[in-house]
């Protein structure tokens, strides 16, 4: 499998973040180019990869997680959380999850 996938999880409840807007941008362009905009499914994932295998390529990408609309907390530390990363090998799969709570945000290259 190739392309870009993600998974959005609420570490305070141990539950997925469902129905949250997630976008994927190509940030090699100025301004960034919107490639995909979807909402997470009940499992906190997207029904289709953010970047499908057929479109897999190297480049500079950015996922944006609209967590503010989910947390609805006036004191949340972040509203829209960007994760900017490079795909350096189009033959590899890039799974980039976001684990979060209103005051905690964590991402990593997963698998």
């Amino acid at each position: 499998m190739t392309g870009i996938t993600t998974h959005l999880l609420d570490i305070a409840t141990g539950r997925p973040l469902a129905d949250v807007q997630v976008e994927l941008y190509d940030v090699a362009t100025d301004p960034p180019t919107l490639l995909n905009k979807v909402r997470t499914n009940p499992d906190g994932r997207t029904d289709a990869p953010m970047l499908p295998a057929a479109s897999a390529r190297t480049g500079q990408f950015e996922l944006r997680f609209h967590v503010g609309e989910y947390f609805k907390s006036a004191e949340a530390l972040s509203d829209v959380v960007p994760v900017r990363f490079a795909v350096f090998d189009a033959a590899q799969h890039y799974h980039v999850p976001m684990l979060c709570a209103p005051w905690f945000f964590s991402t990593y290259r997963g698998s």
Binding site: A74, E75, R84, F85, A86, F88, S106, Y108
Partner: protein
Amino acid sequence: MANEDMLQPARRQFALSGLALGAAALLPAAAAGQTSPPAPAQGASPVVQAGLSPRLTVHAIDIYSGSAGAGLRIDFSKKEGDSYKLVRTVITNGTGRSDEPLLIGESYQAGDYELLLHMDEYFARKEAKLPAPPFLSKVPVRIRISDITQRIHLPIQFGPWSYTYSRGS
């Protein structure tokens, strides 16, 4: 005064580290160019900030080296309209903190802010073996300050393949 309270323990420790290094340089074994062990978390000792006035402080922790994220360049910007406007660039000191709070007093205003972490140059300096371009290069951390009566401490743990930021204390 409050500032000094915050920084003094860290400064003292940093100074001591410097003394230790200076002493080591006088020893023949150290002068022979032995490879140094992985850097311990020197200079990253806890700094108590409880009770300080409202401010935004940052602490970068390098989870790749297990040390303070010293020498990390951070472009600190404030959102104005649709874009982020650079406020200033800071380089973290030996404790992984900025010498001064990013915002304090009059400058501590509600709004959206960005810390752009130059992780590519940081890990290049560490000679980390990473693909080119690395997975993480210029990493934006965007935070919102909504209540300026509350101090925000922002610890950022970062490595070449992951990072975590949170509201600290």
